[in-house]
């Protein structure tokens, strides 16, 4: 099987005046369809830079990045936009929903830019289906400020899924969420992954990373370790444990 994401000796250098910053200094990484990868590292380790490149928001300074067999380095801005639209779904730390816009319309957003264009009726149907997948169909007409953090993040996930992407990219998806909601969001990721969607997630929390199948740790722009997750957490178990802990607190 060919990797869906293939990085070869990937380097990214930023030039800040006369100062040259090497954010990523030669990373080779293959991610195969169906994987659930957590990229970990402290701030400044290069994980965000790598995520931006994997997300086709940026291009390598040096080296090769193949997404689903397509060489990203050779594409222009519009071709990258098209690729993001069709093959990638983004979930951000700050949710990044359009305010004063209903959940349904937020989920429809990527389809506005699809080519060939999608009819309004089908956009609506597909957005509803995506909201159902994350369990928010009843809240379709709610605005983001009427939703909890966890619900907002689920809307964002629905938006990421609506164009049936090959890869779901999540940048610190639980960074703004409390621990229980974080576990719930991880549950959504795990169930999507079980349905065959490849998930790549950046996080700096070890217990969040333990919900993934593979853990890549970065430091100073290089991959330090790349292991399968042993003793993987599952959201159902974790939720049960949290409930039990809470009960214990009440009893005490």
């Amino acid at each position: 099987m060919d990797p869906i994401i293939k990085l070869e000796n990937f380097r990214r250098t930023y030039r800040n005046g006369s100062l040259e910053v090497q954010a990523v200094r030669g990373v080779s990484l293959n991610i195969f369809p169906g994987e659930f990868v957590a990229i970990m590292g402290a701030s400044g380790s290069g994980k965000s830079t790598m995520m931006n490149t994997i997300g086709c928001l940026d291009r390598p300074t040096e080296g090769l990045y193949l997404l689903d067999g397509v060489d990203i380095g050779k594409l222009n801005r519009d071709e990258l936009a098209d690729l993001r639209n069709r093959k990638l779904g983004f979930v951000f730390q700050g949710f990044n929903l359009l305010s004063r816009t209903s959940a349904l319309e937020n989920v429809e957003l990527p389809m506005l830019y699809s080519r060939p264009p999608i009819s309004a009726g089908e956009q609506r149907a597909r957005a509803m289906k995506a909201l159902e997948m994350v369990g928010l169909a009843q809240r379709a007409d709610h605005k983001p400020n009427q939703l909890s953090g966890g619900q907002q993040q689920r809307v964002a996930i629905a938006r990421a899924l609506v164009n049936q992407p090959r890869v779901l990219l999540a940048d610190e998806p639980t960074g703004n969420l409390d621990s229980r909601t974080s576990v719930e969001v991880m549950g959504v990721f795990q169930s999507l992954n079980d349905q065959g969607i490849t998930v790549v997630m950046v996080t700096h929390e070890l217990d969040i990373a333990s919900f993934s199948k593979r853990k890549v740790v970065m430091r100073d722009g290089l991959v330090r370790s790349d292991d399968q997750v042993v003793d993987r957490s599952f959201s159902a178990d974790a939720l049960a444990r949290l409930d039990a802990e809470q009960k214990a607190v009440h009893l005490a």
Binding site: N52, G55, L57, D58, R77, D78, A81, D82, R84, N85, R86, F90, F92, N96, L97, L98, R100, T101, E108, L109, P110, L112, Y113, S114, A120, R159, N163
Partner: protein, 404 residues
């Protein structure tokens, strides 16, 4: 496309006060365009009406030459036109449907215990048709009255009102001028002011023979009024008139003429020239305020792009191309200026009649000026919206997403 319009409308509604203030520049500019153009058109229509009130296909021949400017003392002063000229113009110029000589004198006129000073014009029987006079009551004098220098006259509405009171039919009354009693045959319908502002109703018309023999003692005419059959024959007729008069006055080639010929077209061009200046001035003001309005739109769009950097980042991340973002912001600017344009047009429709009512300016709103104003406002949106939209479209998605 529908979704883009909906997004743009939502963005405008979100900041309704700010959007309105932004539009205000365009509203002022466009309503100034509408009012300014309507004033120009209204003034032109007024002048055309006045020129038309002089008659149709009119040619006026003045004695003396006015191409030398004011040195000769203006037109019609030197009295070079004669009875013989009159006869040959009637006889020799093809296409002429009527000729009347004109002599003018100002006399004191009395009726009963009322008296007033009035301009008396001596003319032929053709004059009424040439100058498109109509009768309120009574009738024209005849060729026989001209031949016999009969003591008859026609009276204008203003003069009649002064002598006999407003609305009183003066036909059959006798008025005295220089102690000569004249019987009023006809009461002329009102014509209003002419293109140069004098009251065309403050007149007494009478056979030119009567005016010359009984009142002024003149033997020569100050001018002729001619009517030709149609505008097409006007140039030929004008040339023919000139050649007939040159012959009569024995003016050889290269010598200066002792008469001048003016057609109605020339007079209307002269009269419109001054209000064209006014139209240009108002248009200039309107243009300046439209540019200012456009800059206002650009300013607010730049603010909007900055405020919505994150939104732009999100759109780019989910696959919007640069041109999608460009189109969205451009449409928003165009919508702002077009709505401003529509409001400006409404304002213009409201202001123009007020101007007529309170300042007495004639106004006429033409459909073409409305279409022009709307097009201009939309173009302003495109021109001044383009730079902010381009700025939005060229944002780096990573930077935009990180923007706080």
């Amino acid at each position: 496309m529908l979704a883009i319009i909906r997004t743009a409308l939502r963005a405008i509604r979100r900041n309704i006060l700010r959007s309105f203030l932004t539009m205000l520049g365009i509203i002022v500019g466009i309503s100034a365009v509408i009012v300014g153009v309507s004033m120009g058109a209204g003034a032109r229509a007024e002048v055309e009406k006045q020129i038309a009130s002089m008659g149709n296909n009119l040619v006026i021949i003045f004695s003396g030459n006015m191409s030398r400017g004011g040195v000769r003392g203006g037109f019609g002063m030197s009295g070079t036109l004669t009875e013989r000229d009159y006869e040959s113009l009637r006889r020799d110029v093809p296409g002429v449907t009527g000729v009347s000589p004109e002599v003018r004198t100002t006399v004191q006129v009395a009726a009963g215990n009322q008296n007033t000073s009035v301009s008396v014009t001596g003319v032929s029987a053709d004059y009424i048709d040439i100058r498109a006079f109509k009768f309120q009551a009574g009738e024209n004098f005849t060729q026989l009255d001209v031949q016999t220098a009969n003591k008859v006259c026609l009276i204008g509405k203003t003069t009649a009102a002064t002598l006999f009171g407003e609305g009183v039919n003066p036909v059959g009354e006798v008025i005295r001028m220089k102690n000569v009693p004249f019987t009023i045959l006809g009461w002329l319908a009102s014509k209003g002011a002419n293109a140069f502002g004098s009251d065309q109703d403050d007149v007494i018309l009478m056979p030119y023979t009567s005016a010359m023999k009984r009142l002024s003692g003149d033997t020569k005419f100050r001018s002729f009024s001619l009517q030709v059959a149609s505008p097409e024959v006007l140039p030929d007729a004008t040339n023919e008139i000139a050649s007939v008069l040159r012959q009569m006055h024995q003016i050889t080639d290269g010598k200066e003429e002792d008469f001048s010929i003016r057609t109605q077209q020339e007079m209307s061009e002269f009269a419109t020239a001054s209000n064209r200046v006014m139209t240009i001035l108002i248009s200039a003001f309107a243009g300046i305020s439209l540019v200012v309005g456009g800059i206002g739109i650009m300013n607010i769009m730049l603010v909007s792009v900055t405020e919505r950097t994150r939104e732009i980042g999100i759109r780019l991340a989910v696959g919007a191309r640069a041109r999608d973002v460009l189109r969205q912001f451009l449409l928003e600017a165009v919508l702002l200026s077009a709505v401003g344009g529509l409001l400006g047009i409404a304002c213009g429709y409201w202001l123009a009649p007020l101007l007529t009512k309170f300042a007495g300016f004639p106004t006429l709103i033409s459909q073409s000026s409305v279409i022009l104003a709307f097009t201009v406002s939309a173009i302003i949106g495109v021109v001044f919206g383009f730079f902010p939209a381009l700025k939005a479209a060229n944002l780096d998605p990573i930077e935009a997403l990180r923007y706080e």
